[in-house]
Subunit: 313 residues, 2 copies
Amino acid sequence: MKLAVLGVGAVGRSVVELAGEYGHTVTAVADSESAAIDPDGVDPEAVLARKEREGTVGDAAPADALTAASDVLVEATPTTLGDAEPGFSHVRAALEADRHVVLANKGPVAERYDDVRDLERDSAGSVLFEATVGGAIPVLSAIRDFGPDHITAARGVLNGTANFVLSRMAAEGLGYEHVLAEAQDLGVAEADPTFDVDGTDAALKCVILANVLGDGGHSLADAEVRGIRDIPGSALELAAEDGQTVRLIGEATPEGVRVGPRLIPQNGTLAVTGTRNIVQLETTNAGRLNISGRGAGGPETATAVLSDVSRLR
Amino acid sequence: MKLAVLGVGAVGRSVVELAGEYGHTVTAVADSESAAIDPDGVDPEAVLARKEREGTVGDAAPADALTAASDVLVEATPTTLGDAEPGFSHVRAALEADRHVVLANKGPVAERYDDVRDLERDSAGSVLFEATVGGAIPVLSAIRDFGPDHITAARGVLNGTANFVLSRMAAEGLGYEHVLAEAQDLGVAEADPTFDVDGTDAALKCVILANVLGDGGHSLADAEVRGIRDIPGSALELAAEDGQTVRLIGEATPEGVRVGPRLIPQNGTLAVTGTRNIVQLETTNAGRLNISGRGAGGPETATAVLSDVSRLR
């Protein structure tokens, strides 16, 4: 397939790097200021080297990537809340041109799921978004396998940064601020970790899951969200005395979303450590399914994007 | 889709019971002595009640189910080794009639994978077999998502009976014979548990995984298999002193299959308890993925069959 990749952050970069290995060709790449376009396929190394060196990917305008010859738009620009712009307009432009869309950007399917589905209905293109929930973990694929009607709830650890902080606090007996600073030094937490530690990122993923399970109707505004900022080290010590620990758990049902710190068994399935993510699906006929793996990272999330692309063939 | 279901054991029965819930119609059901056929759909309750009452499902001959009007043959007769008959001939008949095949019977894809693929190439029908590995765990679907070329190895706990025995032995300090008898009382182990405790069942699943990862070439004869019969309780005690435990672990790579008891960390990911199964996939670009869930059971395995059927639409 021919891919137009919007966004050259960690995920977009990895999609450009790995597309060839999965049998696809990148015909356009755009960041917020520039674009590289070649109907026969851009040179991935050259484009990414230029981005590194000059801050731009090519000499074309970003908007040209939206109209360049391609089968699939890969939307990997940063997630935005509310109207989910400019991501949403990119999705609309591609669908109106009867192209497929693969999202790594959570905004359009978390904040405007019903609008996206309406546009998809009028298009020959389809919208897939495995990469928006749980990085390399094929959770939407598993939901598709069982059928959304046969899953009553999805829950799990969906933010690696918050999980790293909580598991380090529990393992080392250190305070929140100390561990967060350590996570920032390691590159696990961003300079502004608000989205991660306040639960927003996990909530967006759960909103997407609720939309898939319930066929739409949910956005971040309806989610009940609490973060991990206020958890004292003493709470983790107290939990440990009882064989328990604390994790930021997100829960999605067809009815809605709750995210917050929860007490869970220390050696239980949900107590993944470090930046790992885990999703549990409650099925109607097959009990509980657990899937864990790398929930973030450029190459990891790019594999989810490329698996969606292959599904569109 | 219209389904012809061969085999009325736990899995076949559940497929007949659940097909309607997933939007499919059962037009033929056969056990080894009889068949029920109705182009408009058999009455699932009536067929299963008759089987319970009289030991037969209907008045037609079993072979009639193979020629009855259907889109998909669901092959759920008992797994056989070597030539994998009569399952293999059922697969051939369906493919030669350009029908799809969904397998719960492991024989054809473990023992004669290349023959099945050859027949599939000359047919308008496809062969899917998610139900043959790990019951409700969508492991073949996950391999398809990443692409077999991007998975270097699959390993895990793939036999619930052996896992139940080993986890009970470790937890209760009881001997093998005692726990096996208990498992038989509970219906977790069969009267003749040879296939499970000798590692054959786990090996067949790993052979199927190796065939998928390496595009064929493997059968049970090439697998290196050791069972759990000879493990003394003292070995589990010794392991526990060191924070370890023993599980029957199967490993598949494109090159081959090994199954045997292995020392693993007591609180590690692979140390699932009871009859649960777990599969780990090592991916080239996305690290390790773990999937755990119910690895056997009628309804659980039937969901895998029905998810394959839906994939054929």
